[in-house]
Amino acid sequence: MRAGIGLRAVHHLEIVERGADVGWFEAHSENYFARGGQLPRVLGKIRERYPLSFHGVGLSIGSTDPLQRGHLTEIARLVRDFEPMFVSEHLSWGSVGGRFMNDLLPLPYTEEALRHMSDRVRQVQDFLGRQILIENVSSYLQFACSDIPEWDFLAALAHESGCALLLDVNNVYVNAMNHGFDACTYLNRIPRRAVQEIHLAGHSIRDVDGHTVRVDTHDGPVCDDVWVLYAAAIHRFGPVPTLIEWDSNIPALDVLAAEAHKANEVMETDRARAA
């Protein structure tokens, strides 16, 4: 499948009127919770012509608060109305005690968190009546109590909950640089068949008191190092449906399509090498 791009409102009209040279679109679930008006209409028109997936950013699946049934019901409605290819959420939490930080906060990687996360993923899958994909997030800190490597945590989560994985190659790279591990080790420890989707995005380099922290800002092109890591991921996992994310300083549709074409080339090169 040819690479797709994240669906953003600034491009709606152009996509509906002229189409876009991409394989598929992924929508942030919360952006389409509208019950009526333009948004569901536009999304319906796009869905008629392209495969679509839903990517949630607000379910706070790793929180120790009860799951938000209302939020989940909205996702279920989207699933029913638009029959997406994938439904994904994050290996993260964003709320506790009823207060939401509306961010993708890292979990500690412990047995307790693994049990909790597996249980919550199962609850969501039962509610939606389908498998979901869980995505690894960028993080800017690690918890002292973590005693499982992130890659092993993800592999165990997939095994225990029956979810698939959405591997964000940029987030693997960002975390490898921020926390000092080998990104290839990460890829090699993720089971081949668990990865059903790959994300690529740009990140920023922030200077914190003269030291570098990489922050997942989705505000630019995918960097060269991440393209190299992506080639390694495609080699290991095969030509997995790939998506370009770009969420702020959003460029013209052509620029996004060109990024998606670069991903297509990586997949074609890998296929040619294997033949």
Binding site: G37, M101, P108, A144, V213
Partner: protein, 267 residues
């Protein structure tokens, strides 16, 4: 080892209240970037994400008070009303109330009314669909029944009344507004209907009689009470003309009789 619940609670307290110390020991400070600096990245994400979401919903307020002061207002609002939803679309729900508490009986008392208008506009964008009733439905009703019927407004509709010319303020602060127009705050108030057409959300200034009738409908009052409200608001009130205008705007979607509700017309 800290239980997951406790760790999340301390982490949230650190981000919201700056209670950093109780969580610092839980964070690995690898290299020279300290635990508190790492935490600060997340505090910054929380603040900036919240301000951005609020600015998307209230662009006119942001323009009226300026970007810097809007940021300050948004951060004060964040402290008083942190997000209660995984959907950032909801963060502005209490912003008008917050502004009212702050600016009531000041020279900026129009700000909360403008915020209410922006919130109604935002709600209209995402409200459910409903099919408008047409003049045909009146044919089968006898005069007795007519007095007691109650109309339901389209879910995208809101009615707003302000002592200030908030519709003029809203229009003058749209990105496509023409020349800067000076607005006289004492020019008189506005009675506004927010509605959604298939193409867009519209804000319309209503004559006082029309506003009173739709307001009565929105409170679930029967036609007889709406008629009284219309007459009280406007000496030259004409119910037939008002209903015709409301039907033409497609804002009436439900019709209920005096006892059993007449089913809503389906698509």
């Amino acid at each position: 080892m800290l239980a997951l619940r406790e760790l999340q609670t301390r982490f949230a307290n650190a981000l919201f209240e700056g209670a950093v110390e109780p969580v610092i020991a839980e964070i690995v400070a690898r290299g020279a970037v300290s635990a508190s600096e790492r935490l600060e990245i997340y505090r910054n994400n929380l603040r900036e994400g919240f301000i951005k979401a609020l600015a998307i919903t209230f662009p006119v307020i942001e323009r009226l008070v300026g970007t810097d002061y809007f940021r300050q207002l948004a951060l004060d609002y964040l402290r008083a009303h942190p997000s209660r939803s995984g959907n950032l679309d909801h963060v502005g729900a209490a912003f008008a109330t917050f502004l009212r508490e702050r600016f009531e009986s000041t020279q900026y008392a129009y700000l909360p009314d403008v915020a209410e208008l922006e919130w109604a506009h935002h709600q209209a964008l995402i409200a459910p669909e409903a099919t408008a009733i047409t003049a045909d439905v009146f044919r089968d009703l006898n005069a007795e029944c007519l007095e007691q019927i109650r109309f339901e407004l389209h879910p995208a509709c809101s009615l707003l009344r302000s002592e200030y010319p908030i519709l003029s303020i809203w229009r003058a602060n749209q990105s496509d507004a023409e020349d800067e127009e000076l607005i006289d705050l004492d020019a008189g108030g506005d009675t506004i209907l927010v509605l959604r057409t298939p193409e867009c959300v519209q804000l319309r200034r209503l004559p006082p009689g029309d506003f009173a009738v739709l307001e009565a409908f929105s409170h679930g009052l029967p036609l007889s009470a709406a008629l009284e409200a219309g007459q009280a608001a406007d000496a030259t009130f004409d119910l037939g003309a008002t209903l015709q205008r409301a039907l033409a705007l497609n804002v009436l979607v439900g019709l209920h009789g005096s006892d059993a509700p007449i089913p809503r017309i389906s698509q």
